[in-house]
Structure formats: structure tokens, C-alpha cells
């Protein structure tokens, strides 16, 4: 394979390990079929079609590929949840609703290397027995949708989609479905409802686990863009070699999207767990802005629990347990979970000491209040309430007791909702109050204890 040259100024950092992002920002690369074929495109699909579907699934299982969308659930295991007795059609949906604030990786795959995704999807569809697949792409990616449509058309012409793909007897159609601008459509059952033409109200689980009762109540596999791309690479280098990247139980590479107060925000594909938070911020991202100190990091998209810069964390178990600082947290699923947060969607939001914590939390609460679908009580009423309280905190019109109320509202949401949006909307508040109570309280006024204030007026005055 010829040496890959990247566009000037967009070269990957030496610590990066580009697999899925190999062609992103690549010099002379375009999203066309010809370009993709010139580098062995669709060879892995051809290879997969000579195998049995179960063998492909086994490869993905052996690779230990964990979902890159947020929950980090093993993809192969998810595929295995399709009931063995199933006689209904099976659907595969690519979740391209990338809407977690701080996450911006899937769009680059779609924009610059769409055939990688289509090949990954085709292999995955073959593995799970799906003959119809959808790419659910968020409304805000109109160009991405067009690129995907074009790529699908090209794949049709070359016989990588459609009837009897490459003479294998396997049929597959992929359709692009555009969302209408709702965060909740990233929740897989909300996405399915939306795809069915309804309001994206997430379904209750049980009984509506998509692998058993998904789209049109048929078994449905919903995977993230990055996850499906990895399937292609697992086929290419084999599960054994693939799983040697990353760390055990945290295999492969993943794309970290770093935003906020670093010198070089951006996307960086690294081996899972091979870089620490400190290396990510200081080496890869060029460090904090001059003269600034780290205050906090939200490590996995805005819904992940915040990590405070001076916190001590314990990772590892038993004899391996050790206490580390934020700088030494390995960027992998298990370590971030052990630190009380999550790797989530890979969106790392860096917050330095120039930021008001009240403002940051209010900004997040604003988002979740706006995006709550409104189906179930706790999230519907709680997310707006939390926003209104932090509106007042920011405006200096809250009392210290409001911080307690804020925390208790969040805890009345957490774990009590239909979907994970409840946690997504309450974890920021819970963690910010837990870790930055002093700073939030500092923005309040004890004289306002019990005083009813008109939040909207103050919000307007604060120009929020």
C-alpha cells in the first residue's frame, strides 16, 4: 500500500493510529467509488460473502468491538440478540444522528470516506441477515446525506448493493433517511420510531429491545457509523490482529473529538487506552491555552459526568488498584467508567479556569431542556426545571438552597425515565453539583432564599 500523505496542516499527530480515519484529510483523496476501489475497496465485502454469516459475527465478537456511539456495548453480542427462531425480516440501521454535543467524528467519515461505511454496513448486514438497511442521518448533515446517496448509487452500479451482490446470492438495499433535527433520534428506539414516521418517542425496554422488536417490530440492529466502519477493518486484518490494538476489553482504535479550551481541538484516532488524558490534552492537542489551568474535563460527550482537574481517581481492582490524577486516566471505556464517568461518544470537552462552571452547566442544561422529547414525566419537566434554576444561578438570582433543589431534581430524573436521555440530562447536573458545589454556591445570593423570581426576565437580562 502506498504511503498515505495528508493535507498540509492536517497531518495526524504521531500518537494517532489511523484506521477508520485513514482517508480523512488525505491528500488527493475524494469520496468517489474509483478512489475507494483503487485502495482495495469492497474487497472485504467480497471476502465476507464467501464466509458464512455466523463466521463474520464470530469475527466481530472475537475482536471485542465495542459500540462507538455512546454506550460501548459489544457489537457482536448485540448482533447475537436476534432471536434464533426469528422468521421476520431483519433490519440494520446505521445511526448517523451524531448529536451528542462535543462529538464530531461520524460526519468526517460520511463526508470523506462514505464507501468505508457502506462496505462496513454491507458486511454487517450479511452477518445479521439483513437485506434492508437504513442510514439515519441527522438533518444538520444535508451534504453528508447527498454524499451517501451518491455513494450508494455508485455501489449499486458496481454491484456492491442490490440483488445478488457479486454473484453471492445476497441482496441488500441501503436507504438514507434524514432526521428532522432532534437529539432524541440518536436513541435507538426513538430513531426507529422516527424512521417509522412517528414522533421519536423512545420505546419502553422491555419489551421493545430492537434486536428482537425493532423497526416495524422486526429484529433490528442499530450501530453507530464508526462501529460499522470498524467491521470492515476487522474483516481486513482479522479479529486477532485487530484486537491487538487498544487494550483488552477495550480493543481497537477510536476517534476522540476534543473541543473546548485546548490549543488544537479536533479529531484524533488513537488506540483505545493507549493515551492518557494528559497526553491527549498536552501532547496531541497542544496543551491548554497559554496561562490557563485545567478546571474540568467532560470525557465522553456532554452527558458524561464531569471530571474535576484536582480529583483523585482509582482505577484497576484489587492488587492492581492505583490512585491517579486526571492527567493519568487512560482514554478507554473501562478506565473512564472506573473514574465515575464514561467514554461515551468520544467527545472530550476541556474546560479551563476561564470558564464559569455555572455557565457551563447552564449551557448543557439549556441543550437538554431543549432536546427532551417530552414523552415521560421526569425528563420532560425536570430538564426544563434544571435549566431554569441554572438560568437564575448564572443571572445571580438564585439562592444556595436552589443548588440543593437542582441536585434533587436531577436525582428525580436519573434512573426513572423511559430512555437514557434521563441520565444524559441529569448526570451533568449531578456531577457538577457534586464536584463544583462551592463554585455554584458562590454564584448564588443567600438573601434570595425563598424569594420567587421570574426566571425568564433574568435570563433575558443576562442575554442568554
Amino acid at each position: 500500500m502506498s504511503r498515505v500523505i495528508y493535507k498540509e496542516g492536517r497531518e495526524p499527530h504521531p500518537r494517532e493510529h489511523r484506521v477508520v480515519f485513514k482517508n480523512v484529510d488525505r491528500e488527493g483523496w475524494d469520496p468517489s467509488m474509483d478512489m475507494y476501489l483503487s485502495e482495495g475497496g469492497y474487497d472485504q465485502l467480497k471476502k465476507a460473502l464467501t464466509l458464512k454469516p455466523g463466521e463474520v459475527t464470530d469475527e466481530v465478537k472475537k475482536a471485542g468491538l465495542r459500540g462507538r456511539g455512546g454506550a460501548g456495548f459489544p457489537a457482536g453480542v448485540k448482533w447475537g440478540f436476534i432471536p434464533p427462531t426469528n422468521e421476520k425480516p431483519v433490519y440494520l440501521i446505521c445511526n448517523a444522528d451524531e448529536s451528542e454535543p462535543g462529538t464530531f467524528k461520524d460526519r468526517y467519515i460520511i463526508h470523506q470516506d462514505p464507501h468505508q461505511l457502506i462496505e462496513g454496513m454491507a458486511i454487517s448486514c450479511f452477518a445479521v441477515g439483513a437485506h434492508l438497511a437504513y442510514i439515519y442521518i441527522r438533518e444538520e448533515f444535508p451534504e453528508g446525506a447527498q454524499i451517501l446517496e451518491k455513494a450508494i448509487e455508485e455501489a449499486h452500479k458496481k454491484g456492491f448493493l442490490g440483488k445478488d451482490i457479486q454473484g453471492s446470492g445476497f441482496d441488500l438495499e441501503i436507504y438514507v433517511h434524514r432526521g428532522a433535527g432532534a437529539y432524541i433520534c440518536g436513541e435507538e428506539t426513538g430513531l426507529i420510531e422516527s424512521l417509522e414516521g412517528k414522533r421519536p418517542y423512545p420505546r419502553i425496554k422491555p419489551p421493545y429491545f430492537p434486536a428482537a422488536m425493532g423497526l416495524y417490530l422486526c429484529p433490528t440492529i442499530v450501530n453507530n457509523v464508526e462501529t460499522l466502519c470498524h467491521v470492515k477493518h476487522i474483516m481486513e486484518i482479522g479479529s486477532e490482529k485487530w484486537s491487538q490494538t487498544g487494550k483488552p476489553n477495550n480493543t481497537g482504535t477510536r476517534i476522540l473529538c476534543v473541543s473546548g479550551d485546548v490549543k488544537k481541538p479536533g479529531y484524533y484516532e488513537v488506540q483505545v487506552g493507549h493515551v492518557t488524558m494528559g497526553e491527549l490534552i498536552n501532547d496531541i492537542c497542544g496543551g491548554l491555552k497559554d496561562g490557563r489551568e485545567l478546571k474540568a474535563v467532560i470525557p465522553g460527550g456532554s452527558s458524561a459526568k464531569v471530571l474535576r482537574a484536582d480529583e483523585k481517581f482509582t482505577i484497576g481492582r484489587g492488587d492492581d488498584a492505583k490512585e491517579i490524577s486526571i492527567w493519568d486516566i487512560p482514554m478507554d471505556f473501562d478506565s473512564l467508567a472506573a473514574c465515575g464517568s464514561m467514554a461515551g461518544s468520544g467527545g472530550v470537552i476541556v474546560i479551563d479556569d476561564s470558564r464559569s462552571i455555572s455557565w457551563v452547566l447552564n449551557n448543557i442544561n439549556n441543550f437538554y431542556a431543549h432536546e427532551s422529547c417530552g414523552q415521560c414525566t421526569p425528563c420532560r419537566e425536570g430538564s426544563l426545571w434544571m435549566k431554569k434554576i441554572t438560568d437564575r444561578v448564572v443571572a445571580g438570582k438564585a439562592s444556595p438552597a436552589d443548588i440543593d433543589t437542582l441536585d434533587s431534581v436531577a436525582r428525580n430524573i436519573d434512573g426513572r425515565t423511559i430512555c437514557a436521555f434521563g441520565e444524559a440530562s441529569s448526570w451533568p447536573t449531578e456531577s457538577f453539583v457534586e464536584k463544583f458545589r462551592d463554585e455554584l454556591v458562590a454564584d448564588t445570593n443567600p438573601e434570595l432564599e425563598g424569594v420567587v423570581v421570574n426566571a425568564e426576565t433574568f435570563t433575558a437580562a443576562a442575554n442568554l
Binding site: 432536546e371 427532551s372 414525566t377 421526569p378 426545571w385 423511559i418
Partner: protein, 570 residues
């Protein structure tokens, strides 16, 4: 454990072990165990979206043994230990599992309820003093039982549309709506008229009717019944009466042969509202708007409130004894073959029994009733708009009610029929009799609740109580015997039709000594084989199957399918 039937599962509810059939929803298991789980969105006749979160309970299952470890040992009663889950689960949509534990008390469950109540009330207008739902509002009830009793909400509430006409009979207050979606599901799943939905997001979500459409189907008012709060209110009942002042009487609808079970709400002899009463063999939880609203005429100015006798060319009020004596005199002058009796399939079985006795006593040559056959609406309205045609067939012995009306008309035309007794019918209005024809009679007696063109021509007009003012039994389209219960007293000197017929028999020289409709029912049980062995009390509030008719009620059949498929509890 191994000996017990596989379809019964052991479930521990608040520390007590019970057995329930596999597939039972947790909330229903609790109900059967006598433990109420508060809920808003759950309705056993609708699908369960699990959106209100009020029914969250603490749940546990036997611990899963670690790999290689021995499974837990059952205790002496055969129950496995329960490993309680840290997260609560909704009781409405989840079914029980073997050896499951449910806690409806304790910090987790109680904390959830308190939290949900506080959140539901955060943006609620708390306008109970002017809300029709007050007194029968789940928000009020659960707030008292499970709420905090005070609000920590210091923000401005969300403003939403108020007083929205979503249909001709329904008004919506979006600020009171708790987005439980019961109405949306009802219109979609039961009424097949999915015009309701939600728009906007989050706390700004509003219930709305689709642009250009309205909630106008004939079952729309059921949404008011199932609305757990005061969001949907009935234009008809709105602001008429506080619910706690009203008396509830269980009875049945008489607008068609289905005989929907109803509750009639009254205060001081006035009917304010009729709502469907659950009967899974008759009307489920629903009834048509047209039937529930068909009661205002009971208070009409056209009500007959005293007997009238024809005096020259106009009617004048008379006492019952004068009217009955006049009738007896006239009837005695006629031969039996010159008398026809037209009764009504709106009469109760008891009334029909005593009418049959009148026919025999007078040896009347003709007897029939007025049929009312229209289209079945595919839901609850039977093609037969008479409530008791089956009673007519059974008790009057008419195989084909209405088939003799032509002969009666012909008899009158030809002068063979000289006397006609019309019980609870308006022949001119409803049976195609012309005034000219009726003018040929020597004697015409009618009983009816309202003044009407037939009564206009009658020699004697007797005020007969309407359905709400009498008791008795009827047999519905499926052959179910049901009780009609007296709700209010009839106005003025009105008598129940069976009393009128009894008095007429007595006035014409036939004594019988019947003092109550229940006495007549006893006689029914003795004289009509289908009724034998049945007592008035036995019929109860839900009735009982009496005869096979081969007829079904479409909505009920569909509901059975939905239950069988597990979609709804039923």
C-alpha cells in the same frame, strides 16, 4: 415448586407471597393482591407507553449465580431469595417473573412517586377551584397520597393554550395536560380516528388536534372519561355541577340493543352526566357520545306530568282514577278482537310481562311493538335501536316484532280495530301511522313521557316514566340480561309503565296485587322458562348471559383479539 402448575408464578408483593398466572402485568398482580399502584398513563384497555412513571416500583428477582457458583437455595416454603434491583421499574408494562419481588412501599418506590408528583405539578396551573375534574382528579388524589404537600418550584410556569375547542363536544386545557397520551391512544386504538397528537418538545409539549381536523367522532367523549386530569372536559358537563355533590346510580343505556352499562350522575333529581361503566362483555369502558348525551329531553317542557283526557276537542288534566275509569269504560265496550295493543321494545321485561297479561285479560286481537332497525356502527351501537327486542320476543312471544303493524293499520282502516292501546310509543312519529288513520279509532290510549302527535289524537294520555325513572330488566343484543335501575323520580304524577298497565288491568276488572317491579321479575322467573332460577339480586350490576342470540358486539370482539395478542390487559 416443581409440583405447581407452570402457568402460575410465585410473586412476593410487599413481603407477602402470591400466585399469579404467567403474563400478568405487575400492576395487575398488585391490584389483585389488594395493593394499589398509582398510575396515570396506564389503562388496561389501551397499550402501555409507560410514560407517566408514576407506577415505578422496586423490583427484585432471584440472584443469578456467578459463573461456577451454586444457585441459591430455596427457603422452606420453596421461595428463592430476592436480589433487589437498584433501579425502579414500571409496574404497568412489565409482566411478572418467577419468584419476583415487588415493593410498593419503601424509600425507593416512595421517592419515585414523590418525585414524579412534584415534577407533574411543577408546570401544572393548580387551578383546582375552577377545574371540572376536581374531586375526581388523579393528580389531586395522588398528590395527597404521595406528594410533598409543598412546592419547591420557584420558576415561571410554561404557558400553553387554554380553552381549546378540539371538537364539538370536547374542550382542552393544555396547561392541565400531563401528556399521559390516554386520549391519543384511545382515538387511535379504539375509535380508529387518530386526530389527536403531541406537538413541540420537552416541557413545551402540547396535546393538539391535527390541523384541519377535529375530535368529532361519536366516541370522543370517552377521552374526557379517561383523562386523569382536567385537560379534556365535556362541553355538556363543563361547569354544571361539582362532582362531589352528585349521586351515582348504576344503570344501562337504552338507546340501542347493546345496553351499554352506565353510571348516571344526579343531584336533587336532576341528571347532570352519564358515563360508561365498565362491562367487558357489553361496552368495555366506553359508550357513544350520542347515547350519553341523550338525556336532556328528560327535563323538557314537553314532559307529560299528569293524565289527560280528551274533552270535546281539547285535552284537560285528569286524576289517574278518572283517566283509568274512562279507559276501562271505553275498553269494556269493545270486543277483544276490536282491541289492539302496541307496546314498545323500549319497555322492560317486567313491563312486557304485565303487558302480556293485559293483552290476555282484554283478549286483544292484536299485539305488536315498533321495530327500530338501522345500521350497526361497527363499534358499540347495535343495528337494533330498541334496547329490549329480545325481551319482546321472549315475553310477548313475537317472533318478528313489527310484522303485524300493517295488519293493525289495515284493521283500523277497515274498522275492524276500534280500540288501540299504545304503550311508550309515538306511532305517528316512529311507526308510520297517519293521524287520519288514528282518527278512525273509537278509542286511543297512549302512555309516553313526552307530548307527541299520537298523544295529540288520543282519548286518554297517560304520563309514562322514561328509562331513568323506572327499574326493570332488559335483554341485550347478545342475550345478556341486565338491570335498568331507577335514577330519578318522574315528574308530577308520572307512573312507571308497569304501574300504569297494572292499574289498567285493575280498572278493567282484573286484580293482581303487584307492588314492585321485583315482584314482576319473580313472576318472570316462574313463568318464562329462560328466566327460571334467576333472582333479581343475582343479575347484579353487570348482568348475566340469559339466552344465545349468536350476535356479537364488534368493539368487544376486537378487544378480545387485543387481549389475546397481549397488546392490552383488558
Amino acid at each position: 415448586m416443581s409440583e405447581e402448575k407452570t402457568d402460575l408464578l410465585d410473586v412476593q408483593i410487599d413481603g407477602v407471597w402470591h400466585k399469579f398466572p404467567k403474563g400478568t402485568r405487575m400492576i395487575e398482580a398488585c391490584k389483585q393482591a389488594g395493593v394499589e399502584v398509582p398510575h396515570y398513563c396506564y389503562h388496561p384497555k389501551l397499550t402501555s407507553p409507560g410514560n407517566c412513571r408514576m407506577c415505578l416500583v422496586e423490583m427484585g428477582m432471584p440472584p443469578r449465580p456467578a459463573p461456577g457458583a451454586e444457585p441459591a437455595e430455596p427457603d422452606e416454603d420453596g421461595h428463592l431469595p430476592i436480589s433487589w434491583m437498584p433501579r425502579p421499574v414500571i409496574a404497568c408494562a412489565n409482566t411478572i417473573g418467577p419468584n419476583m419481588g415487588i415493593k410498593t412501599t419503601g424509600p425507593l418506590t416512595e421517592g419515585c412517586r414523590e418525585g414524579v408528583m412534584e415534577l407533574l405539578l411543577a408546570n401544572h396551573p393548580l387551578d383546582c377551584p375552577i377545574c371540572d375534574q376536581a374531586g375526581e382528579c388523579s393528580l389531586q388524589e395522588f398528590s395527597v397520597e404521595h406528594g410533598k404537600g409543598e412546592s419547591r418550584f420557584r420558576e415561571q410556569k410554561v404557558k400553553k393554550p387554554k380553552n381549546v375547542e378540539v371538537g364539538p363536544r370536547i374542550r382542552l386545557d393544555d396547561e392541565r395536560c400531563i401528556m399521559c397520551s390516554r386520549c391519543v391512544r384511545f382515538t387511535d386504538e379504539i375509535a380508529d380516528d387518530p386526530v389527536l397528537g403531541f406537538t413541540d418538545r420537552g416541557s413545551h409539549t402540547v396535546l393538539t388536534v391535527y390541523p384541519g381536523r377535529e375530535l368529532a367522532n361519536n366516541y370522543s367523549m370517552n377521552t374526557v372519561d379517561i383523562c386523569p386530569v382536567g385537560a379534556l372536559t365535556s362541553n355538556d358537563f363543563r361547569f354544571q355541577m361539582r362532582v362531589w355533590f352528585m349521586k351515582e346510580t348504576n344503570t344501562i343505556d337504552v338507546n340501542c340493543a347493546t345496553g351499554a352499562n352506565t353510571t348516571v350522575f344526579t343531584r336533587q333529581g336532576k341528571i347532570y352526566r352519564i358515563t360508561p361503566r365498565q362491562n367487558n362483555d357489553v361496552n368495555s369502558d366506553w359508550m357513544p357520545d350520542s347515547h350519553r348525551l341523550n338525556f336532556h329531553w328528560i327535563e323538557s317542557e314537553a314532559r307529560l306530568t299528569e293524565p289527560l283526557v280528551l274533552d270535546g276537542d281539547h285535552h284537560r288534566p285528569a286524576t289517574w282514577s278518572e283517566a283509568l275509569t274512562k279507559s276501562a269504560d271505553k275498553l269494556s265496550a269493545l270486543k277483544g278482537s276490536e282491541i289492539a295493543v302496541i307496546a314498545s321494545a323500549r319497555m322492560t321485561n317486567e313491563e312486557l310481562l304485565i303487558t302480556n297479561r293485559l293483552v290476555k285479560h282484554l283478549d286483544a286481537g292484536h299485539v305488536d311493538t315498533v321495530p327500530r332497525i338501522e345500521e350497526n356502527d361497527g363499534y358499540l351501537i347495535a343495528a337494533d335501536r330498541n334496547p329490549n327486542t329480545n325481551g319482546v320476543k321472549l315475553i310477548l312471544g313475537l317472533d318478528d316484532p313489527g310484522s303485524q303493524l300493517d295488519a293493525i293499520r289495515e284493521g283500523i282502516e277497515q274498522g275492524r280495530i276500534k280500540g288501540l292501546i299504545v304503550l311508550q310509543e309515538n306511532l305517528v312519529g316512529d311507526a308510520g301511522f297517519s293521524g287520519e288513520l288514528l282518527g278512525k279509532l273509537d278509542f286511543l290510549l297512549t302512555t309516553y313521557p313526552l307530548a307527541n302527535p299520537t298523544a295529540d289524537l288520543a282519548d286518554v294520555v297517560l304520563p309514562g316514566a322514561c328509562w331513568a325513572e323506572k327499574s326493570g330488566t332488559m335483554i341485550n343484543v347478545t342475550g345478556r340480561l341486565q338491570r335498568l335501575n331507577k335514577v330519578v323520580d318522574g315528574p308530577g304524577a308520572t307512573l312507571e309503565p308497569w304501574e300504569i298497565v297494572r292499574d289498567l288491568i285493575q280498572a278493567t276488572g282484573g286484580g293482581n296485587g303487584i307492588y314492585a317491579a321485583t315482584d314482576l321479575f319473580k313472576q318472570l322467573a316462574e313463568q318464562v322458562s329462560e328466566f327460571s332460577g334467576i333472582s333479581w339480586e343475582q343479575i347484579g350490576d353487570l348482568g348475566l348471559p340469559l339466552i344465545e342470540t349468536g350476535e356479537t358486539i364488534p368493539l368487544i370482539e376486537r378487544e378480545k383479539e387485543r387481549i389475546a395478542s397481549g397488546l392490552v390487559v383488558g
